[in-house]
């Protein structure tokens, strides 16, 4: 990894450097000087044959491996750094040319993985160079010192302060990431309309569009068949990303012609990043595999928080469940219709006049009684807590924030106020650590009246949303201590979720894992909980785009992603609703939600047939929870995404590079949801030459590396298990995930053509941090030479479970004459059934504890 950091040498005031996003200051590693001349240096980047060539005039930086250029910085000379300045009364004044002098003022740091203070290499300004600079007259352009947008004005005390840098990616045609945009997985060339990163509360967002949405992760991945790399632009100000490509617009025929004629031009993607303020601080992640890039990025910003198991189950939400009786009747409805759910959600109307941390005195008069009722069913609740605070001297939260001076200030020094749900509202300064500590303390059971341990939190509107602000957000010249809002805008939501998650951890004395959903986010938000794609709509295209939107988030570390099932705005047809449940059941965060103005849409309101279809989709989710949980355990450990684009697992198969109508869960399940109205069939691409895939419903085997047409009915959810994998399920689906805690496992062993398979089983208590204290079971399941065995992957860990192995299905098996189980020195024979038509061998009741060592031998 290479970090390039460029700052002003002597700025008028310190330029903002994003804090708290990196989990630690990355250790540095000494660079050895390979060669040097008057215009540059060649440095070795550690172990591999990777070098960085730094050229002075013009400044550029090329990262090489062998003879291959992996990435070039400033090869197009778009480096720009607008320095801070004081306003002069005259209309023009003399300054040194920005473009040329940037070089004089750079300071860069290369870092890879080892600490060494000597590695920091400072290029001090060279006076000889400076003498060459022609003094040019800088024109005062409109908007330099003040900008107006509609009726809003933005004062800029230090003038324009943008930074920009370009990156060239030779050999790259596919770039991904930089969420959040409602766009395809593969980013498009932008042609003058760049992707924008600026957290905004967008009303009814448009699809396939580079416009900014609720969150921003300034991380881009670049991929070709040989290598995956990444760029992390650590800047929290408004940011724009321009993408161009020398192959864009070329037809397939044109590309083929190039190939046939041996065109010398290699494909290349050029990217330019521009931020309104802050510094240039960029991490270049060199892979080479996608997994390497994930690990490299995780080493910077951390991994996905390990959610409580129940958070991976089904969530029932609506704006709003009207009162306690309503909550109770919806809860009863799920039992009556035998549909499992774990969380019921309360939106803003549950509060006393949109004062968060309070309850409507009539509609939710006895919240603990309600929460106890849910607890009796082993279910949970999420209540919304937004960051805008009603300005009301009878409201404790407001009074405390005001008296402690915790509100964000306007440019004139008063408390910044804007309009949001409660009317006039203040915005706590979550960038202030004291404020965050205080906020976290508000979640204590004795502070948040009516809260209990099965109440969790949802942070909405944390872009922040300001109804009467420019673009429905905060004025850029609002002030956080000494820092302008413009410098850290995209970080606000990150901090809100951070403080809230901390509150939920603290209220349990650090024992229980929190669950917090956020709408706004930044790089590193994965450490604090879940993200959803905001206020989507009940339209088929919104269902489709939920896949690339969550894939893009997954690629940049945020695995716990979901879209509102059914669509937030508008009313879904029952077909769309069913298809959305079927899709959502296989996406990480599975929550149905609906707008206040739409008719009710609990799963049983669309006739018995649709109720049955939805029930089946939700049940499939619950049965698969052990696998989901295991994937999130790994995401937490390694930073590898849970929901993956196909190319991540098949990086050399160009057919997968732009695919975003299907995805993988882990590496073993391939999901191709039906997202077309009136679909009679879908064509799924099963990757992997020489591999096989098993339909998880019929167990039919299909060969890899083919486009498979699958006829579908309303009940179809095309899902395939990779041959060579073992997936655990709990098929006794009950009312909530907690009810299934002690249930036995069924193992689905899908054999590859070599007749082997591997999988894992991860078990812990499902809700505490005790897994950090080695209280878990982690086993490797492997099948080879007709022997299936369970081996302890974590012998140092301790946990006991009541769960046992109920059944083992071996897909693609042949009929054995005898099956024996060996455990604890005892051998016994297992009964089995063999379905010759699908080659499925079912072993009856091995009965061994899921944490035990055992082997099963087929003879």
């Amino acid at each position: 990894m290479t970090r390039v950091k460029i700052n002003e040498l002597k700025p008028l005031k310190p330029r903002y450097e994003v804090p708290d996003v990196l989990i630690q200051e990355p250790p540095t590693e000494p660079l050895s000087l390979l060669s040097q001349d008057e215009n540059g240096v060649v440095l070795s980047l550690g172990a591999e044959s990777q070098r960085v060539i730094v050229s002075a005039r013009p400044f550029r930086l090329d990262i090489m491996e062998g003879h291959e250029v992996l990435m070039s910085l400033n090869s197009r000379g778009l480096l720009a750094f607008e320095h801070l300045r004081t306003r002069k009364d005259t209309f023009s004044y003399k300054v040194t040319s920005t473009v040329a002098s940037v070089w004089d003022n750079i300071k860069w740091v290369f870092s890879s993985s080892q600490a060494d203070p000597d590695a920091e290499k400072k290029e001090e300004a060279d006076p000889a160079n400076q003498a060459d600079e022609a003094e040019v007259e800088e024109k005062v352009e409109e908007g330099m010192w003040e900008e107006t947008f509609k009726s809003h004005s933005d004062g800029k005390p230090n003038g324009p302060s943008a930074v920009s840098l370009d990156f060239s990616l030779p050999g790259v045609e596919h770039v991904y990431g930089i969420p959040e945009h409602a766009d395809t997985l593969k980013l498009k060339t932008t042609d003058g309309d760049p992707y924008r990163l600026y957290n905004l509360d967008v009303f009814q967002y448009e699809l396939y569009n580079p416009m900014a949405l609720y969150g921003a992760v300034p991380v881009m991945l670049a991929h070709n068949s040989q290598r995956t790399t990444g760029i992390f632009w650590l800047n929290a100000a408004e940011t724009w990303v321009d993408i161009s490509s020398n192959t864009a617009g070329k037809t397939v025929f044109g590309k083929m012609l190039d190939y046939v004629q041996g065109s010398s031009e290699t494909p290349q993607t050029d990217v330019r990043w521009i931020s309104e303020s802050g510094i240039i601080d960029v991490f270049v992640m060199l892979g080479p595999t996608p997994q390497d890039v994930f690990s490299q990025y995780a080493s910077l910003t951390g991994t996905q928080a390990f959610p409580p198991l129940s958070a991976l189950a089904y969530h029932q939400c609506r704006w709003n469940y009207n009162d306690q009786e309503d909550v109770q009747s919806v809860d009863a409805g799920f039992d009556q219709h035998d549909i499992p759910y774990d969380f019921i959600w309360l939106d803003i109307e549950h509060t006393d006049g949109k004062r968060y941390f309070t309850w409507d005195p009539h509609k939710f008069a006895t919240p603990k009684e309600m929460l106890r009722g849910l607890m009796d069913k082993r279910r949970k609740m999420v209540a919304i807590v937004d960051p805008h605070i009603k300005v009301d001297t009878n409201y404790k939260i407001h009074n405390e924030i005001r008296s402690r001076g915790f509100y964000i200030k306007n440019k004139d020094g008063g408390d910044y106020e804007g309009w949001c749900w409660p009317g006039n509202a203040g915005y706590p300064d979550f960038t202030n650590p004291e404020m965050r500590t205080w906020w976290a303390s508000m979640f204590a059971y004795d502070q948040y009246e009516g809260s209990m341990e099965n109440l969790y939190t949802w942070n909405d509107m944390n872009e922040p949303s300001v109804f009467n602000g420019p673009e429905v957000t905060m004025h850029k010249d609002a002030v956080h201590g000494a820092v302008e809002h413009r410098d850290l805008h995209n970080l606000y939501g990150f901090y809100v979720q951070m403080a809230t998650a901390e509150g939920l951890i603290q209220r349990s004395g650090g024992v229980e894992r929190p669950f917090v959903l956020t709408r706004a986010f930044f790089a590193g938000s994965q450490r604090y909980g879940a993200v959803w794609t905001g206020d989507n709509a009940a339209e088929w295209d919104h269902l489709k785009v939920s896949i690339p939107m969550c894939l893009s988030l997954s690629l940049v570390g945020i695995s716990l992603c979901g879209a509102d099932v059914g669509g937030f705005f508008k009313t879904p047809s029952s077909e769309l609703l069913v298809r959305w449940y079927q899709t959502g059941a296989y996406q990480p965060f599975f929550r149905a939600h609906a707008h206040l103005d739409t008719p009710r849409r609990e799963p049983w309101l669309f006739g018995p047939e649709n109720t049955a279809l939805i029930r089946e989709a939700v049940r499939q989710r619950y049965a698969l929870l052990p696998y989901w949980y295991q994937l999130f355990y790994h995401a937490q450990r390694t930073g590898h995404p849970v929901m993956r684009p196909l190319w991540v697992e098949y990086p050399q198969d160009p057919a997968t590079f732009a695919m975003d109508d299907q995805f993988l869960l882990g590496k073993d399940l391939l999901v191709h949801p039906v997202t077309e109205e009136g679909a009679r069939g879908v064509t799924a691409y099963l990757p992997g030459k020489g591999e096989v895939w098993f339909d998880v419903h019929t167990f039919q085997k299909h060969n890899g590396a083919q486009n498979l047409y699958i006829p579908v009915t309303m009940s179809s959810i095309p899902v395939f298990q990779r041959g060579g994998s073992i997936i655990p399920r709990k098929v006794r689906v009950r009312r909530s995930s907690a009810c299934m805690e002690h249930d036995p496992y069924t193992l689905y062993v899908a054999l590859n053509p070599q007749r082997t398979a591997e999988g894992e089983l991860y078990i812990d208590d499902g809700h505490t941090f005790n897994f950090n204290k080695k209280e878990f079971i982690h086993r490797r399941l492997s099948f080879a030479n007709s022997i299936l065995s369970s081996i302890n992957l974590a012998p140092e860990a301790q946990f006991s479970t009541q769960s046992w192995i109920e059944r083992i299905l071996i897909l693609g098996a042949s009929k054995p004459s005898k099956v024996t189980l060996l455990t604890d020195g005892q051998e016994r024979q297992l009964e089995f059934e063999f379905d010759a038509s699908m080659s499925v061998l079912t072993l009856r009741k091995p009965g061994v504890n899921a944490g035990a060592d055992w082997t099963v031998t087929l003879q």
Binding site: N322, D326, D338, H362, K363, D376, K377, R378, L596, D597, T598, P599, R600, V731, R732, V733, R734, R735, A738, C739, M740, D743, E806, R807, R844, K845
Partner: protein, 457 residues
């Protein structure tokens, strides 16, 4: 052979029938008589008897695991001695939640379930007794209301007949009054004409024409100009406003000036009728002299008197007709087979829920009044919308006030049996879709014998 099997069966039932199979009802016991093997109840598979309730699902229909959670879609029988027995989904066995009041579903979980069957049984018996009392009382009240309804129906019919009679009478009266008014008008006209003839109306008229012309002709040049018209003439509706040049030109017959003879044929007529323009200031209408005549005055008074009495009769007739159509409309509504719902007509029932007061006026409308007093219509009477078996179990009120960005408000009222007639609850499950629970004796339906309390085992 057959004989042999029967003997074997008897033998087994005698010897080992005492073993209890968990989770089955008495009536299913015959499927679980202990033998070497067990036939799934759907007949699909034969399994060793030890596999019954061994916590592994063997039968497609779940019949081998009536007492465990092993089979998806299976069911567990709660005996619930002292209360009602019932089935629960097998997924609720040992899930840590007490479902059977006899605690039999949580025989292997960490949850301690108390046996609450006798309490529940008592409570249910009390409830059922209460319900039965309510039902008896309700049905008695309903009978009264039916009788009242029939009377009310007759009364309304009589009222309709009366109203129709009144209307007929009024119609006759109306014709008489119309005739009398025509007569009075004719008399007035005659008087006016006679007066004009007798007074040499034409001369007077001419002299009046002349004098009026002179008033208007400020500079006395024998010709009226635009300026003079603007200075002296005004619209009746808006005296203050000065006429525009176009308006003045129009009054001058399209030209910029006019002489006396032209005046007599154009502007004079307008001024004399006095319905659009008039002379500014104290000059008044040109025909005022005629009105001073006592005969004329008497004739006008008579005409006015007749006009106003005609109006009164007309109004009375209209009112009567409106009442008739109103009543007819009401009588076309379906008030139930025995007119038992008729008494609800013209009644209103209200209920306060949080900050709103809801008012249900059956067969008319539903409204919502907020604390600050704004009233919103939640729907007008639409139709009966109950089940095919009992269409009178629900009422639908529709086309209330439109919602912001949405459809119009509507309300579904469910009628339940009770001894009083009252609005019991109001909910708004989705925006602008209201549901009400309305209790009334007339919703009570006679039922066959209430299901008894379980006494099996």
């Amino acid at each position: 052979m057959r004989c042999h099997i029967v003997i074997a069966a008897v033998f087994w039932s005698v010897c080992v029938d005492s073993r209890k199979i968990r989770g089955i009802s008495l009536s299913y016991k015959r499927f679980y008589r202990e033998r070497k093997s067990f036939l799934c109840i759907d007949g699909s598979k034969m399994i060793p008897f030890e596999h019954v309730n061994d916590d592994y699902c063997d039968c497609e229909d779940g019949s081998d695991e009536p007492g465990t959670a092993a089979c998806p879609g299976g069911r567990f029988y709660c005996t619930n001695l002292g209360f009602r027995p019932h089935y629960i989904q097998s997924s609720r066995v040992n899930d840590g939640i007490c479902d059977c009041c006899d605690a039999s579903d949580e025989y292997n979980s960490h949850t301690h379930c108390p046996n609450s069957c006798s309490n529940l049984g008592q409570r249910e018996r009390a409830d059922v007794q209460g319900q039965m009392r309510t039902l008896d009382e309700g049905l008695r009240l309903k009978q009264q209301l039916i009788e009242e309804g029939v009377l009310l129906w007759r009364e309304k019919q009589a009222q309709l007949r009366d109203l129709q009679q009144v209307a007929e009478d009024l119609q006759i009266k109306l014709e008489e009054h119309r005739r009398r008014k025509r007569e009075a008008d004719r008399l007035k006209e005659q008087t006016l004409k006679a007066l004009e003839t007798a007074n040499g109306g034409l001369r007077r008229q001419n002299s009046t024409v002349t004098s009026m012309f002179q008033i208007l002709d400020s500079n006395k040049d024998g010709s009226l100009t635009v300026d003079e018209v603007q200075a002296n003439v005004a619209f009746i509706q808006d005296e203050e406003r000065v006429l525009s040049e176009e308006e003045a030109v129009a009054l001058l017959g399209g030209g910029h000036q006019m002489d006396l003879s032209m005046f007599q044929h154009t502007l004079w007529n307008s001024l004399r009728t006095g319905d659009s323009v008039k002379i500014k200031g104290p000059h008044g209408a040109p025909g005022s002299l005629v009105e001073d005549d006592p005969n004329m005055k008497a004739a006008e008074r008579a005409a006015q008197r007749e006009a106003s009495s005609l109006k009164k009769v007309e109004e009375a007739y209209e009112t009567a007709n409106m009442e008739i159509s109103d009543l007819r409309m009401k009588l076309t509504i379906d008030y139930g087979t025995d007119w038992e719902f008729l008494f609800l007509n013209s009644q209103c029932y209200q209920l306060k829920v949080y900050e709103y007061t809801y008012v249900l006026c059956p067969f008319n409308q539903v409204t919502q009044k907020s604390a600050v007093g704004t009233e919103v219509s939640l729907g007008k009477w639409g139709m009966w919308a109950g089940t095919p078996e009992n269409q009178y179990s629900q009422m639908r009120y529709e086309s209330g006030e439109p919602c912001w960005q949405g459809p119009t408000r509507n309300t579904m009222v469910t009628l339940t049996c009770g001894t009083e007639t009252a609005l019991r609850s109001v909910k708004e499950p989705s925006k602008c879709q209201y549901i009400m629970d309305f209790q009334t004796p007339v919703a009570c339906q006679p039922v066959l014998k209430q299901r008894g309390i379980h006494s099996e085992l």
